[in-house]
Every structure is written in structure tokens, then in C-alpha cells.
């Protein structure tokens, strides 16, 4: 474990948002993100889905980017740009088989990320089914843990029927933290064109409307797991961040809210600091999971 630079705390850029080039990831770090989770990287360059890749419905965002990425070899330059800036980086990886994700992890190790996040749950690509099944999740996490010497986080989906069993399987396999939640499967239909808007038809729903779903998942997981939980899903403000810490999140990732500007990390951190001061709390760890006590 390296673990020195990256502590499971603070406010991180979530995977899939902006994290495709070294320069933009560095910019997000400089503007206040405590760590950067890269876009999910696979074994080979991948175009992703045809557009539209974005739609909106009921105050949230639907996306079906489809794991666009330059492949682990092509990502080498991007991540070295970011590493030179000393901003902690979590390499998000995916693979359509256990062998494939393990190979990406081994190649990824050469890029010296501070940790790995396993995307086991993209709702608009074929790998989306892994985190629906505890046994499959166990095997993916175990296989990667066996070949890397740094922290491994498992990103799970709220679309699974039993989220807690899936997360518990990741913990048994040696995951150092669980990241909850990925986007919620959804769809938007244009009533004049009379067809789904997204090129992929189905996408992942994110933003403020999924926040209560994320809070519920983090809350349930906190009561059952002993590894830290990294909360993600609809966090837009410092109030949301506090609520998610109270549910059990040690660190928080922000994604869709970046649409409103990359200074969101700065604003959340300022608000959280003021809340802690006003409430007479000395550090965040005192309130992590506090709501599960009652």
C-alpha cells in the first residue's frame, strides 16, 4: 500500500466527469478537488456510444457516454501529467472479463496511481451486470487485489436488488473501500420525435434527484461493512455533503454538480468547514455514520 498521499477523506472528482486528459484533471485538482478519479479506462481505445450522450429529466442528468477511453496504454501520458502536479489520482478501470480487468490493473500499476477504483457497474455498457451479483463482484475484486499493491475501491450500483450483499462480497475479497453509488438506470423519450433521446436509449441517471437513493445506500452499507464508504450520487452542496457523511461516507465524490462549475469543490469545503465550526465539531470523522446510531 502506498496510501500516504491519498487518505479516504475529503471531496473528490467522480469518475466519468472531465477525467479524460491530464490537463483538465489537473485543473480540477487545482480548483479544489482533494483527489481525482479518472474516467474508466479499459484495455483498448473505445469510442463509446453515438450521441446524444446526454439528456435531462426531472431535474437530473441522463448520460450514456459508453466508456469512451483511449485504452490503458494511451492513457499513460495523461496520468503522468496529472501525477506531476502531486494531486492524488485514483485510476478507474473496467474490463469485460476477470482476465481483462486484471490485465488492465497490472498495466495500470505502471502508471503509479494512488489507488484503483473498479467500475463494476456502468449502467449503459455491457459490464454493468458485475455488481448485481455478489459472487462475480468477489471474483473481480479478489483478482485485482491479488496483483496490485495499492488500495482497491469497488464501485457498486444501486440497480442491484441487494446492494449490501454485493458490497459485503467486495469487502470479503479485500476491497479497501466501497464507492456507492453509480448512476441509476433510466430513460428519456422525446415526445415529438417519439423515440428515446440517448443514442444508447438507456442511460445512467445522476444529479440531485438521486441523492436520497445514494444516502439510503450509504446508510445501509455503513451499518454492515467495516471498510470505509466513499459516498457519491447527487451531492451538489455542503449540506448534501454533511448529510452523506452522517449516513456513513468517509469521503465524497462529486460528479454532475461540476456542470455548474469546477469551483464546486471549493464551495463544498468552505460550507463544511463553517458547519463544523458552528456545530463545535473538531473533525469530519466524528460525524461519519453518526445518523446510524439513533
Amino acid at each position: 500500500m502506498t496510501g500516504d498521499r491519498l487518505k479516504i477523506q475529503g471531496y473528490w472528482l467522480a469518475s466519468g466527469i472531465l477525467g479524460v486528459t491530464g490537463a483538465i484533471m489537473k485543473r480540477v485538482g487545482v480548483s479544489g478537488a482533494d483527489a481525482i478519479v479518472t474516467k474508466s479506462i479499459g484495455p483498448a481505445p473505445r469510442r463509446g456510444n453515438p450521441g446524444p450522450i446526454l439528456a435531462t429529466s426531472h431535474g437530473g442528468l441522463l448520460n450514456a457516454v459508453g466508456l469512451t477511453n483511449p485504452g490503458i496504454e494511451g492513457f499513460r501520458d495523461e496520468i503522468s501529467t496529472l501525477r506531476n502536479s502531486r494531486i492524488p489520482v485514483v485510476l478507474s478501470i473496467f474490463g469485460s472479463t476477470i482476465d481483462e480487468i486484471t490485465e488492465v490493473a497490472m498495466k495500470g500499476l505502471e502508471l503509479k496511481p494512488d489507488a484503483f477504483e473498479l467500475n463494476l457497474s456502468c449502467p449503459h455498457a455491457k459490464i454493468g451486470q458485475i455488481a448485481h451479483d455478489p459472487d462475480l463482484t468477489f471474483r473481480y475484486v479478489k483478482s485485482v487485489k491479488d496483483v496490485v499493491d495499492r488500495p482497491v475501491f469497488a464501485k457498486i450500483t444501486p440497480n442491484a436488488s441487494d446492494v449490501v450483499s454485493v458490497a459485503a462480497a467486495a469487502e470479503r475479497a479485500g476491497a479497501d473501500a466501497v464507492v456507492a453509488i453509480n448512476t441509476v438506470r433510466g430513460m428519456k423519450i422525446d415526445i415529438y420525435q417519439k423515440r428515446p433521446v440517448l443514442g444508447n436509449k438507456v442511460g445512467g441517471f445522476s444529479g440531485p434527484p438521486i441523492f436520497p437513493i445514494a444516502v439510503r445506500c450509504v446508510y445501509d452499507l455503513y451499518r454492515e461493512l467495516s471498510i470505509p464508504i466513499i459516498g457519491v450520487g447527487g451531492v451538489t452542496s455542503w449540506e448534501d455533503a454533511i448529510e452523506m457523511h452522517l449516513a456513513g461516507a468517509s469521503a465524497i465524490q462529486v460528479g454532475t454538480a461540476v456542470l455548474n462549475g469546477i469551483d464546486v469543490f471549493h464551495h463544498i469545503k468552505q460550507g463544511v468547514a463553517k458547519y463544523l465550526h458552528d456545530e463545535g465539531i473538531s473533525k469530519i470523522s466524528e460525524i461519519v455514520g453518526a445518523a446510524t446510531r439513533s
Binding site: L18, T21, P52
Partner: protein, 274 residues
């Protein structure tokens, strides 16, 4: 946070009429219900061609409620898009991006090929603001020039139009940058506005530096979201997003953008030399 507004208020519109601009390029005119949105020349909209793809398109006609985009068929999406006929529907969202700054005294506007599209509303806006404008319409050959008849009708007090073609079939024979040097022998401009092939814009940037004048260039990069969330169009090494901070960049900013004139990234994020 108003996500619908931030992602450009997606709207389905109907082609109201079409204009054949030259042998290949076609302008699709549509009515935009919320066309009273503030619009700056140089901004773009994402256009959804049903069942095909969604692509960034510069606004080439702004006469609310009539709005237009000029499409040159070069790939699958633009081929299907440019072939839409009156009454057919497509999606739009935007406007996105920074647009051109209108602060100048005498402007030389240089459009290369389809690059003339976002410059047309700029020509009208500057002319309306009482600025002396010369438009240099450039292309490989005569039948790829855009809006020539329309712009020539505008020639008069404070407005001039010049043509340049690589093969000499109309106007100056040679590349646009050489035509610009010739234009500057008889006149002076404090600002160059340009859009077109990046090698042309990179040369104009060097020329503007040499002359000590301002340049504003509209860049193109592969783009998926249009609204600052996917990161596909980020520039090296500044991390500027073409869809948010651009697509128009001034000469000062271009000095810092090392990839300008050198490389871009393809749809997967792999770097491609220009």
C-alpha cells in the same frame, strides 16, 4: 442547480426552409421558440440528428425567430443532417461557448471553407455596431466559397469583401494567409477574427503576433457533451474546455495552448497530429 438550463434546454425543432449555399453546403433554417435567449456570434448548439448522432454546429444565421446552421456533408452525421428537408425534425440544445468579443476598431474577418459559418453573424453584428469590416472568404476552390453573393450585396460604406482560392478560380490565388499579407499592404486592421482549418488559423496567429494586433480564432475539437462535463474537448496544457472557455480564443490564450496548430484528440481521446 438548473440542469436543464446548464445542458442547453433541449428542444425539438422543425426544418422551416433550406438554402443551398454552394454545391455541397446547405443551411437549415428553423424556428426556435426560445430564440430570445441572448446569443453571441461564435456560439454553437449541439444538434441531434435522430438515430445518427449529436454534433456541435455553429449558428450561421441569427434572425429570431429564424435561426440557421450551415452543414457541410463530410461524415455520416453531417450527410444525413444536410439532407433533411422542410418539415423534418431534429433536436437542438445550447447556445454554448464564449463567442467572439466585439471590441475592435477595424476588423478583418477570415473564413476558410465551412469556417465562414460562425463568422456570418459576426459580420452582421460588427457592421451593425458601425465597425469597419473586411471579410475574406477563402476556400480550396470557387464552388466551396460561402455566402459570397450575399456578402457582395452588403459591400459599401464600412464593408468590403475579398475572395481567395487555393487554385485561383476566384479572387486571390493562393492560401488565405498570403492573401492577408497582401490585404495588409494597403490597409490596417486592429483585429483579426478567424475560423477554418487549424493550420490556417495557426499561421494567422503568427501573423497577428508579427503585426502586433489582436486575433480571435474559433477552434474545433471532438465534443460529446457541449456543456463542460465530459472533458473530451480539453486543451493541453491549460485544460481549457473548447465548449465552455472556447470555442473562441484570443491570441494571448492561444500562446498558452501548446496543442494549437499541432495536434488534437480523436473520439477515444488518442492524440492525432494535425
Amino acid at each position: 442547480m438548473d440542469i436543464e438550463k446548464l445542458m442547453g434546454t433541449p428542444t425539438t425543432v422543425q426544418v422551416y426552409r433550406t438554402i443551398n449555399e454552394n454545391r455541397k453546403a446547405r443551411t437549415l433554417v428553423f424556428e426556435l421558440p426560445e430564440a430570445n435567449h441572448p446569443f453571441k456570434p461564435g456560439q454553437f448548439r449541439m444538434s441531434w440528428i435522430p438515430g445518427i448522432d449529436e454534433i456541435p454546429m455553429s449558428i450561421s444565421l441569427w434572425n429570431p425567430p429564424e435561426v440557421g446552421v450551415t452543414v457541410l456533408p463530410i461524415g455520416e452525421a453531417t450527410s444525413v443532417f444536410s439532407a433533411l428537408s422542410t418539415g423534418q425534425r431534429f433536436g437542438v440544445r445550447g447556445p454554448f461557448g464564449s463567442g467572439f468579443s466585439l471590441e475592435c476598431e477595424r476588423a478583418l474577418i477570415i473564413g476558410g471553407g465551412i469556417g465562414m459559418a460562425p463568422l456570418r453573424p459576426l459580420v452582421y453584428q460588427l457592421h451593425e455596431n458601425g465597425i469597419d469590416v473586411t471579410a475574406l472568404v477563402a476556400a480550396k476552390t470557387k464552388n466551396e466559397l460561402l455566402y459570397v453573393d450575399e456578402l457582395e450585396r452588403l459591400v459599401g460604406d464600412g464593408f468590403d469583401v475579398q475572395l481567395a482560392t487555393d487554385d485561383g478560380s476566384a479572387g486571390f490565388k493562393g492560401i488565405a494567409t498570403d492573401a492577408v499579407r497582401e490585404i495588409f499592404q494597403n490597409a490596417h486592421y486592429d483585429t483579426i477574427y478567424t475560423c477554418g482549418p487549424e493550420p490556417m488559423m495557426a499561421k494567422l496567429h503568427l501573423f497577428a503576433k508579427e503585426m502586433g494586433i489582436t486575433i480571435q480564432a474559433s477552434l474545433e475539437r471532438f465534443m460529446k457533451c457541449g456543456c463542460g462535463i465530459c472533458g473530451t474537448c480539453a486543451l493541453d496544457p491549460t485544460g481549457d474546455l473548447v465548449c465552455v472557455e472556447g470555442p473562441v480564443f484570443t491570441g494571448n490564450r492561444l500562446n498558452a495552448i501548446e496543442e494549437f496548430g499541432k495536434y488534437h484528440r480523436d473520439s477515444t481521446g488518442v492524440k492525432i497530429r494535425l
